[in-house]
Amino acid sequence: MNSLVLLMLLPIIGSIAVAATPRTKEVLSKQLALATTVIVAIATLAMAMNFQRDNVDLQFVEKYSWIPTFGINFSVGVDGLALVLILMSTILAPIVVLSGWNEAHGGRWSVKTFYILILVLETMMIGVFAATDVFLFYVIFEAMLIPVYLLIGGYGTGERSAAAVKFLIYSLFGGLLMLASIIALYVMSGAQGGHTFDLQALSQLEMSSTTQNFLFLGFFIAFAIKAPLWPLHTWLPDAAASATPGTSVLLLGVLDKVGTFGMIRYCLTLFPEASKTFTPLIMVLAVISIVYGAILAIGQKDLKRLIAFTSISHFGFITMGIFAMTSQGHSGATLYMFNHGFSTAALFIVGGWMIARRGSSTIADFGGLQRITPVMAWSFFLAGMSSLALPGLSSFVSEFLVLVGTFTRYPVHAVIATFGIVLAALYILIPVQKALHGPTAPGNEELRDLNIREKVAIAPVMAMIIALGFYPSPLLNVINPASAHVIAQMGFTDPAPTNGDK
């Protein structure tokens, strides 16, 4: 089965099936959701096997006319970058369903609504990475906000509705700026040979550098809000602190990647000149994000907010890798997106279990988990190590590639960013020490360790983190040609002394 459209249809079919289950049979709706996401993951893996690694053209291309009046097509296709991200999304989805088996209870709405939203969101996650029509991309980009908004506001904890609104308003604002840019592109395409939204055709447009700068900003601000880049990040900690762990995984692991993905796919491809113009500014923002996110993470007392701030730091690395404009930087950034998906998923999932058991998300309330719940504690420890990029774990490879790729062109930035790694040791080791070691905090004596379902859910994540740490080449073989292609298209050649990705 090599059809992206069919792949997008699968979760929709699953969601209809879930919708058809009676409200009382909650377990059945969970099982259906799990079965659907597993099937989608297997189907994606099967597709990935058929992907031709050395072919830099879009593959699995499909195109259907949608709104011919405006030249809009429902067209999809993937390159190495999109494939890797779709793969990450579809593998994370069943893990989220399984790990958060009970997290839909206590929501405003029924359990099955939760799974309908998750499945609809999965369709959109595939679509947003696969779209090759800018209009289609925009529609999915915006439409995705609704299920996430409902997931945060309906099933989260604490100030959930305020956090959900903040998330939505930030995203809508960015989206509307992007819409203005898209309208301009559309009108220009009409003046230069026919209205179209085809990404390839739009990248050939002639435009003055002033226009290009403005349009670039429209796209970039939308993506920087998504990604989130300092100083547009303030919605993220609130959203992540209020959402359920599963939603947080999808939010930080997948949705925020749309931002960094968009920077490569849309900003660099459509506006190469403007990208170069803004690179110095963006590199500074990226470095600030790395250090700022790390410092604020150290100061957090709440486990979920801590993880959110670590992600801001990580997204700084990804953005830096993208705009360093070297092929190692690019490959590293793409690999980073994939790995960050899994290490953040591990942190949120295990952290979520800890919080659910303890009934508190304050780090100081934990203590001595290593003795009481060894499996859970070790899982959290491993997830943390992956987050701080310990050599031998997957994140190390990508962080190293990004730093090497950046150093060859921006040594100062790379050096400052390296402090982010030192700070990472602090923001991970402090909570590890407080939560896992030390005296057993009162109220923790009775905590249960992971059950079979939870072990099954976390095992593939851990396996992925370790396996890709030692042997990242299956992914890099897919990513490298795509990255090299983007860099070549931008007219860059890698600076001479390189010794990165061998």
Binding site: S65, W66, I67, P68, T69, F70, R108, Y138, V139, I140, E142, A143, L145, I146, L150, G153, G154, R160, S161, A164, V165, L168, I169, L172, F173, L176, L177, L179, A180, I183, A184, Y186, V187, G190
Partner: protein, 505 residues
């Protein structure tokens, strides 16, 4: 002195004639029918006339004529589209108007008087609202197809006078309703005067009242330009009043709030189509060559209108007032379609008007459902937790709000996208940027209502949701289907509009 009998093309005029005939039958029914049979007869006559008119519009869809009524009426593609939109909107609005609970039993009685109470108790409900609606619809149908200034003025009055009355028919809070009616009437009369003043100057400029005469004077540039400018300005004031553009919007929040909600729905949706239809025709054909005289003015008004409407809507605590300010903001978005002055702009405006009209009727239909023992509850604070008590009603309202906000996969998004891209194409970048930014502001207050409905716990205050009557359900469900269908598969309608959207001159 010799008179020649007028030559009328009855086929092309039939949609309007049917409505006027239906309205007159309605008046007779009101006078002679027994009170038990009156409501059902009135409803059948009204719906029958509307459907018949719609069938006639469909049959003449490919006809074009400048001389349907001695040069006073022009029938072309846009005319057919506007008339069809007005009829469809009226049909779904009339299903709301059929709810007698909304209307005073005896409009002629003083509020709170013995007479009123007696009329209510004896069930002697008058049903004059039906013929009034038909007269208004007939006026709206004529307004965008008029092709001389006198016909245009007559149409304006025919559509306005019934609406002034209808605004005062509310059963509950009658004083507010009558105040709204009076306000609407006084300001409306005032703007009609401006309109006539402008028409007089245009006559002075071109020595013609027909659109083609004025147009050739504008193209030839022969007349006195000062007269033309004064004429355009004052005529525009009259038209901008009808669409509720800032600074001529002051009537709309009070009237929206005071009028019976079904009337508000009808007025908000159908009047906008008629008024924008007429504006499109006048600016696209008559004044097209004087673009540089009016375009800067309209650009400023459009920007002020959308920014003002969006900002003030944030502060509203009443759902009907909020929708009123939202409709002001939408008037601003629609003005960008006139500023665009190209075929894409015309198509986009026609699509936007239809989509917006349907969504508006749907939204007000939901407002009629949320009630307590004293009638409709329009205070937003009491809408808290609606999603919990009546999820489907809340989901419907949320869909309409998302469409107003222009979220993808709703008709509002396609409308906004097409109208903004048309304006950008014509070089009106400033309007597009202002439009996009005020859309962001507007999204905020639409979303706030969604938060209220879904993410806030209900307060126990006796607010309940009426089980919708089957007529109201039809309106809500139809509006919802159209709102989503036009967002997901707009291609057939866009093609249909594209084939017809050319003004003949």
């Amino acid at each position: 002195m010799e008179f020649s009998s007028p030559v009328l093309n009855y086929t092309l005029l039939s949609p309007m004639l049917i409505l006027l005939g239906g309205a007159i039958i309605g008046v007779l029914v009101e006078a002679f029918m027994s009170k038990a049979l009156r409501p059902i007869t009135q409803l059948s006559v009204t719906i029958g006339s509307l459907i018949l008119a719609l069938v006639q519009v469909w049959r003449i869809r490919n006809d074009q004529s400048l001389t349907a009524a001695m040069g006073s009426v022009v029938i072309d593609g846009p005319a057919v589209l506007m008339q069809a939109s007005i009829l469809i909107i009226s049909l779904i609005s009339i299903l709301l108007i059929a709810d007698a609970q909304q209307f005073t039993a005896l409009a002629a009685s003083l509020p709170g008087s013995e007479e009123e109470r007696h009329a209510l108790q004896s069930g002697n409900q008058v049903t004059e609202v039906y013929p009034l609606t038909l007269f208004a619809v007939a006026g709206m149908m004529l307004f965008p197809v008029s092709s001389d200034l006198i016909t245009l003025f007559v149409a304006l009055e025919v559509l306005s006078l019934p609406l002034y009355l209808m605004a005062g028919l509310s059963r509950r809070r009658r004083l507010a309703s009558q105040e709204a009616a009076l306000k609407y009437f006084l300001l409306g009369a005032f703007s009609s005067a401006f309109f006539l003043f402008g028409a007089a100057f245009l006559y002075g400029y071109s020595s013609s009242i027909s659109f083609s005469g004025i147009r050739s004077a504008v193209v030839g540039g022969s007349g006195n330009d000062v007269f033309l400018l004064i004429g355009i300005s004052f005529l525009s004031v009259g038209l901008l009043f009808k669409v509720g553009a800032v600074p001529f919007h002051a009537w709309s929040p009070d009237v929206y709030q005071g009028a019976p909600t079904p009337v508000t729905a009808f007025m908000a949706a159908a009047t906008k189509i008629a008024a924008f239809g007429a504006m499109l025709r006048i600016y696209y054909t008559v004044f097209a060559n004087a673009q540089w005289s009016w375009s800067p003015m309209l650009i400023i008004i459009a920007i002020i209108t959308m920014v003002f409407g969006s900002l003030v809507a944030i502060a509203q605590r009443d759902v009907k007032r909020m929708l009123a300010y939202s409709s002001i903001a939408h008037a601003g978005f629609l003005l960008t379609g006139i500023i665009a002055l190209n075929k894409a702009g015309l198509e986009a405006s026609l699509f936007y008007l239809f989509a917006y009209g349907i969504t508006t009727v749907g939204a007000f239909a939901v407002v009629t459902l949320v009630r307590d023992s004293a009638g409709e509850v329009t205070d937003l604070n009491r809408w808290k937790g609606l999603g919990k008590r009546s999820p489907w009603v809340a989901i419907a309202f949320a869909t309409f709000l998302l469409s107003f906000a222009g979220i993808p996969l709703t008709s509002g998004f396609i409308g906004k996208f097409s109208i903004f891209s048309a304006a950008y194409e014509s070089g009106a970048t400033s309007v597009v940027i202002a439009g996009v930014l005020s859309s962001a502001v507007a999204a905020f207050f639409y979303i706030r209502v969604i938060v209220l409905m879904f993410f806030t716990d209900p307060v126990e205050d006796g607010t309940s949701v009426e089980i919708p009557s089957s007529l109201t359900s039809i309106t809500v469900i139809f509006s919802m289907i159209v709102t989503i269908a036009l967002g997901v598969f707009p291609a057939p309608i866009l093609d249909f509009i594209s084939n017809l959207a050319t003004f003949i001159r």
